[in-house]
Amino acid sequence: MDNQNKILEMRGICKYFPGVKALQNVNFTLREGEIHALMGENGAGKSTLIKVLTGVYLKDEGSIMLEGKAVNIKSPQDAQKAGISTVYQEITLCPNLTVAENMYIGRKKGAGVNWRGMNQDAKRMLTSLGIPAEPTQQLGSCSIAVQQMVAIARAVDMECKVLILDEPTSSLDEQEVQKLFGLMRSLKEKGVGIIFVTHFLDQVYEVCDRITVLRDGQLVGEYLIEDLPRVQLVSKMLGKELDDLSDIKNSDENGEKTYSGESVFEAHNLTGTTGVEPFDFEIHKGEVNGFTGLLGSGRSECVRAIFGADKTQSGTVKMNGKTVKITKPLDAMKKGIGYLPEDRKRDGIVGDLSVRENIILALQVMKGFFKPFSRAKAEAFADEYIKLLEIKTASTNTPIKSLSGGNQQKVILARWLLTNPQYLILDEPTRGIDVGTKVEIQKLVLKLAAEGKSVTFISSEIDEMLRTCSRLIVMRDRKVVGELTGDELTQNNIMMTIAGGEK
């Protein structure tokens, strides 16, 4: 296998950011017709390495060889011309253009555009990949999953030798993932080298041939997939032996308490403007429950209605037994509800503001316009939570957007923990986050519950929900279709309820 043609060789790549060594002397080799997983924790340097390869960042040191020739990639255009296509973790297309325009933007030479031809080509591509979108549809009107698939279609459609998939599956459901894998395998047969970045171990072992592991900006090693069992991979990524996962599973055993405690939040016939069927909901003190269902089943819309993120249309809400009115997020915040939104980039972070400002934002808004925290106080808050959640940042002054995805998520989490809510809603807090941080967040959720707080936890990964939640509300087609507690909480049961089978 080693005799295979090397299409891409990166040698001694270094990249520095102010105060952070993002990459130190990293080597990476990609051979023709292989799917190569790039693994590592948050901040390990995966995204940075890819951005160096695609010309988004300029490397500070090192060399890149493409098919044996040294190349100097200075911009994404250079990378594209060299045959390197990328699908990023966060969607980087233009939501206000049509699907077809997004697929072909910036790829044609000359001024004229053959709209008809473009739309037809796009249609053919979309059909062949089974993507449910019209070429003339505005991209922004598609679901995140479809947007992601359009991004993949765009990359695939370009004559590429190296295809980079940076967390492409984090917002896709199982079927869509399978479709993507099928596509990846057929590309592989054509000799395309695929770099696959993901946090899903199952997926790595399903499609990949080789694994390169990074940790803290340094290369740990390159392995053939059959030489590296899962446990070893995880321990290599974390740099320590991992019993944390099993720890959490064990603590699950005592999760069968019945919550006769007072109810913290109660809703009847609640619905928002986004069109979920009116639903009833209740959460008790110290309880962790969750909404589950397929993508687009309305689980996010439910929690948005609870928080007042979308205008509520009907329903009554009780907090600690008293009827309250929640019409906007500030109402909910003042009642002690915190909400970590699903789309971190769009709804969560305030990109250019510093980590410190992002952490204090919610509490500051609750405190009021005329009562700003002193700088020292804000610093103290930020330092406390950076330490508590082990947020990797150069300083409290670093703009949040320069942090890695997982660390950004921790900052948002810190923001809500700082407000000391009695009821915390976490919508996909572990999306696009590495195993280690996932476990940390799960543990944190259980710890919060043990302290008497209530948490609603949403995740696309069912086993994660099973580990943390003691009650699951199952949704299908924007309707609550079932509720599972105690012994009923098994993967099979959930699947069956989602699919609409008899319980």
Partner: protein
């Protein structure tokens, strides 16, 4: 040794990247240029004006005096830009309205050339404040609630403002002969420093205090950067955008007072002409992104003074007033290109490359 060199290098790189770097560097270049060309530029002398009162004169005084309106407008423009990611191009026209309203109130029913003022100046000023804040509210409502692009929304007042100003006074040109009214744009007898300088400084102190003791800065930046996540953190992005336009209205009234007071009358089509462009330029010169988000108030104000410094320098070298904008444009292009983040980044990198060589030489 190397560590020390590194830290110096890093400091200099940091300096290049600092937002105040460009306006300060521009100022420095202008100062040096004038020093070489004609040091008398910096001469400030104490003379007497026609009324026999002591006044300071000299180009520096002129700069500080004439930049006052611009500096005040830059405050409002910075907030508007940061929150709404667009600019208010109607400020020149609304200054005409502010001035016209003040003169109308002062003239009262005594015709357009009253012997004495028919109302206290403070009343006229406060009424003008209310009026311009209402116009600001109009702009703000269009931008924040109707989601119209700021430049388009304010284009309405930009077009209509001067006509409205003329209409308020039935197209007459009122003249206030009372000397007291001219104090705000000229000198208070006995004080040799022009009054607009004090007014501008007062405005700066007010905004500095507001930024320090309220969350205006945090809210405006947060909304400008990501209004959706701001909303989910309990802010009301629409209202905050709306308020920045109202604050802009207040700045306009203050600038309007200075403007009409300078000449004790008004020329609807000429007063504060093109000042909106200079105000926007001041914001840009301060290194603030015109697309909104983070802002640095001090840099914007500094930008306003740099623009005035430049204008006065050009006047001094007897550039014909028709040709002035062309010269200004050249300098502006250089400054704006230099303040572009890309260029600043590269300057920093360039320094990094040069610095180690120097360090080696130093050791040898």
């Amino acid at each position: 040794m190397t560590k020390k060199n590194k830290s110096i290098g890093a400091t200099i790189v940091g300096l290049f990247r600092h937002q105040l770097f460009i306006p300060l560097a521009a100022l420095l270049i202008l100062v040096v240029f004038n020093l070489i060309a004609d040091p008398s530029f910096f001469k400030v002398s104490l003379g007497q004006n026609n009324a026999g009162d002591p006044v300071l004169s000299g180009y520096l005084v002129t700069i500080f005096n004439n930049a006052s309106e611009l500096a005040i407008l830059a405050i409002g423009m910075t907030l508007v830009t940061a929150a709404s990611g667009g600019q208010d191009i109607s400020v020149g026209a609304t200054i005409a309205i502010a001035g016209s309203v003040m003169l109308r109130v002062l003239c009262g029913s005594a015709g357009s050339r009253p012997e004495t003022m028919q109302a206290p100046i403070i009343v006229a000023f406060l009424i003008a404040c209310v009026v311009t804040m209402l116009f600001g509210a109009f702009n703000g409502a269009l931008v924040a609630y109707f989601k119209i692009q700021p430049m388009v929304a304010t284009l309405i007042m930009f077009t209509a403002g001067r006509s409205i100003a003329a209409w308020i006074n039935n197209n007459e040109l009122p003249i206030i002969s009372d000397a007291e009214f001219s104090y705000f744009g000229n000198y208070i007898p006995g004080i040799p420093v022009p009054t607009p300088v004090f007014i501008a400084v007062a405005c700066m102190i007010v905004i500095a205090l507001v930024l320090k003791f309220t969350n205006l800065g945090l809210y405006v930046q947060s909304v400008g950067i990501n209004s959706e996540s701001s909303r989910l953190n309990g802010l009301n992005p629409e209202f905050i955008k709306f308020m920045t336009y109202v604050i802009m209205g207040l700045c306009v009234a203050v600038a309007g007072l200075i403007k009409v007071s300078r000449i004790s009358t008004i020329n609807y089509s000429v007063i504060a002409k093109d000042i909106e462009m200079d105000a926007i330029l001041a914001v840009a010169l301060g290194g603030n992104a015109l697309s909104g988000g983070k802002f640095n108030m001090a840099a914007s104000i500094m930008g306003a003074y740099v623009i005035q410094f430049l204008t006065t320098t050009l006047y001094k070298f007897e550039v014909a007033s028709d040709a002035l904008p062309a010269y200004k444009a050249i300098v502006v292009i250089i400054l704006v290109v230099m303040s572009a983040p890309v260029v600043r980044e590269n300057m920093g990198r360039l320094w990094k490359k040069i610095a180690p060589k120097k360090a080696v030489k130093g050791v040898q």
